[in-house]
């Protein structure tokens, strides 16, 4: 496949011109990861478009496609924050692997620990689209959603077993397992 000199020139010119936007987008994504790690909701709101779309794998408790920072069911935060008691689990180690003037790809780590001490750590390659310097679309590709789902199922069972109020839980997607909502903030999700 030979794109030819003309294509190469066009590509180099375009890439050079878009570098400033690329850098802006990279900075926005770094601030977003910092906001998530530091649980800074205000910063998150400032860095996302109001109509931001999130795409999570459907096999996870917070899976599906949602518009806005709060979806209809349990959110990523409601699921993972109880499993991230210390900075070690909250750390995401984001690494920008690619960027254009419209999209940024970040490789980050999803970490968690159950009440019984089981740890999870897995890579996520996420594709982010930005508009006017703010996040407008996010799609998360976990390396192995089956492993994530297994870990969350185990964590849920441990949480249910140790909970004094087992009614505060919601249905785990594609299974009969109940997932404890330790923040007690979301209604039961009926898939």
């Amino acid at each position: 496949m030979d794109l030819g000199k003309a294509h190469e020139t066009a590509y180099l010119g375009w890439k050079g011109a878009s570098m400033i936007d690329n850098e802006k987008n990279i900075q926005t994504m770094r601030r977003i990861f910092k906001a998530v790690e530091q649980r800074d909701e205000k910063a998150m709101l400032e860095l996302c478009q109001p109509d931001v779309d999130f795409f999570w794998p459907r096999s996870l408790p917070y899976g599906g496609e949602f518009r806005g920072l709060k979806g209809p069911g349990p959110s990523w935060g409601e699921t993972w924050i109880p499993l991230q008691p210390t900075e070690a689990e909250q750390r995401m180690d984001p690494r920008v692997v690619a960027a254009t003037d419209k999209e940024v790809v970040v490789l980050w780590k999803q970490r968690g620990i159950t009440a019984s001490g089981d740890r999870f750590e897995g890579p996520v390659l996420a594709l982010y689209a930005l508009r006017d310097g703010k996040l407008t679309r996010a799609q998360m590709f976990y390396f192995d959603t089956a492993e994530v789902a297994d870990f969350l199922r185990r964590a849920s069972e441990i949480a249910v077993a140790s909970s004094s109020d087992p009614s505060v839980c919601f249905v785990y997607p594609d299974s009969d397992t109940k997932w404890i909502n330790s923040n007690n903030t979301s209604p039961v999700r009926d898939e």
Partner: protein, 236 residues
């Protein structure tokens, strides 16, 4: 997959273009080509150009010259790349961009070879110690080194489920390239003997070394959905 595909680039850049002239003004030379409605400022030397962005503004006569040049080309002077002639040497930045472009072309050639079941051609694109990472929960999951096909590998698993071109099509798009890394969004498709279809997104991260593919890691959007499809009965 188009031969004209350029990674991450808007589609209007993906056609052939040839310079039809140049326009000089002050310290800049503008190259005029025949693409519509685009004015690009090419950064040849990042430090110098960062300074120039704030300090080296074109005068009124400069702008008039540009408009005149445009007129001379009867309104077809549509794509201009400002170049500082003193900075004509290839910079490190440009070398990196060229490498990114070459890596992107290589990865698309590999995808095409996979779609066309061309087993021989792609070997030249791989490092001998090429490493591939598949999600552990899949039948072909794990980390493998080398190019020897496995009896339970991706090809052995998916080829029986891809009887026609429709399933073999991967629609690979280079999202972007950065240094030695290239990210590709592609589709995994399959058709079971019972007629069940699978069509899911995969975001792959590739690392090159000396122009050859050294590492690949596949991130299916939902491995559970893939595993469920693959676990279905093999016979109708």
């Amino acid at each position: 997959m188009s031969d004209n595909f350029l990674p991450g680039m808007p589609r209007q850049f993906c056609s052939d273009r040839r310079p039809i002239g140049t326009a000089k003004m002050e310290k800049w030379t503008f190259r005029i080509t025949t693409q519509p409605g685009i004015l690009l400022a090419r950064v040849r030397n990042s430090t110098r150009n960062r300074n120039s962005a704030g300090g080296r503004k074109m005068s009124i006569s400069g702008w008039a010259s540009l408009l005149l040049s445009v007129g001379l080309f009867l309104g077809v002077a549509e794509f201009a790349i400002p170049q500082n002639p003193e900075e004509s040497k290839q910079t490190d930045g440009e070398a990196i961009l060229k490498k990114e472009l070459q890596n992107s072309k290589t990865i698309l050639a590999i995808f095409r070879a996979i779609e066309e079941r061309n087993d021989a051609q792609p070997l030249q694109f791989f490092q001998p110690d090429f490493e591939i990472h598949w999600p552990p929960s899949l039948p072909y999951g794990g980390t493998f080194t080398g190019l020897k096909p496995s009896p339970n590998g991706w090809s052995a698993t998916w080829e029986p489920l891809q009887p026609t071109e429709a399933e073999r099509k991967m629609d690979a798009q280079v999202v972007s390239a950065r240094g030695d890394d290239v990210v590709v969004l592609w589709r995994q498709r399959g058709l079971s003997p019972r007629g069940d279809r699978f069509d899911g997104e995969v975001l792959s991260l590739y690392r090159f070394r000396e122009g050859k593919l050294a590492r690949a890691q596949m991130f299916y959007f939902d491995t559970t959905a893939v595993a469920t499809f693959l676990a279905r009965p093999k016979r109708p």
